[in-house]
């Protein structure tokens, strides 16, 4: 279960933000900006997303006084960005076009034969734990590179769900997608990471 309530350290951070503590802002900016960018980039091009997140932080300086803690600070900040981005694309009469038709990545789909069994099965690789894999700096860099190459929609969904530990219903709300579409976005992104790690372990190259 992923909680969405204010914990003690966050409560303290909110108090300091409400007092206009500059150090608290520096801390909050580092904690929450990556997730805010993930939300904004779902809707907007990267440059517009950065501008919107900057504007949001400036709004937060006064808006934080009205923060009541009904959701976590993270969710509150992400929600502000989502609302602004949705308004922006509505004003421009644009829609977010999602590629959620096929739950299988094409590179994985072609590894099954007509009998729907594996024709190119996953290579049995070392049983290193995820933590051991992450301690491999080259793999870690490779992961960064491939995350950067994921389609923006998949990356936003993955970041918010896996890295920022939002609940699925919150991600659906932030990104304005159905639960079914979120499942496809997550599954497609995980397959890309699976294929990347498999390739890396086979060849040692990114």
């Amino acid at each position: 279960m992923r909680p969405d309530t204010l914990d003690a350290p966050e409560d303290d951070l909110v108090s300091r933000l409400q007092q206009g503590d500059a150090a608290a802002y520096r801390e909050a900016v580092r904690l929450y900006t990556p997730g805010m960018l993930a939300v904004a980039r779902f809707y907007l091009d990267p440059a517009s997303a950065e501008d919107m997140v900057q504007d949001t932080w400036l709004t937060v300086i006064s808006a934080i006084q009205t923060f009541e803690g009904r959701a976590s600070l993270k969710t509150w900040l992400h929600q502000i960005v989502a609302n602004r981005a949705k308004n922006r694309i509505r004003d421009r009469h644009r829609e977010v076009a999602l590629d959620t038709d096929d739950p299988l990545d094409p590179a994985l789909a072609e590894r099954f034969g007509d009998n729907r069994r594996w024709s190119v099965p996953p290579s049995a690789r070392s049983s290193d734990s995820a933590q051991a894999l992450l301690e491999n700096n080259v793999l870690s860099d490779c992961l960064d590179k491939h995350l950067g190459q994921l389609p923006e929609h998949q990356r936003s969904a993955l970041m918010l769900y896996e890295a920022h530990q939002h609940r699925a219903e919150d991600v659906c709300n932030l990104l304005d997608v159905s639960a079914a579409n979120l499942r496809v976005l997550l599954h497609r992104a995980r397959q890309r990471i699976f294929l990347m790690v498999e390739g890396f372990q086979e060849t040692g190259e990114c």
Binding site: T59, I61, R116, W118, A124, L134, H164, R183, A189, R190
Partner: protein
């Protein structure tokens, strides 16, 4: 009967516990018989753990520095933007 490709389609649903009892049972029966799919599920699960652990995806340093600067300026001028909805 659930085949390997069908399992690959619903693998994330299985990992996240989103399948109903019937779906879960079909996957488990298939996994008992198919080592390739056991490998696939294990590695896909590992990919999700890698992602969760790799949460350090940071915003660019120069961008963070710009935010620090803008916020500092707004704080010292005693203003926050009231523009827009939130």
């Amino acid at each position: 009967m659930l085949m390997c490709k069908d399992l690959a389609v619903i693998a994330s649903d299985y990992i996240d516990g989103e399948l109903g009892t019937g779906g879960k049972l079909s996957v488990r029966m298939h996994l008992m018989m198919c080592r390739h799919c056991r490998t696939f599920i294990g590695q896909l699960k590992q990919s999700t753990v890698l992602m969760a652990a790799h949460s350090s995806q940071q915003a660019p340093a120069d961008y963070i520095a710009r935010l620090d600067e803008e916020i500092h300026r707004a704080l010292t001028q005693g203003i926050g933007s009231n523009q827009g909805d939130y």
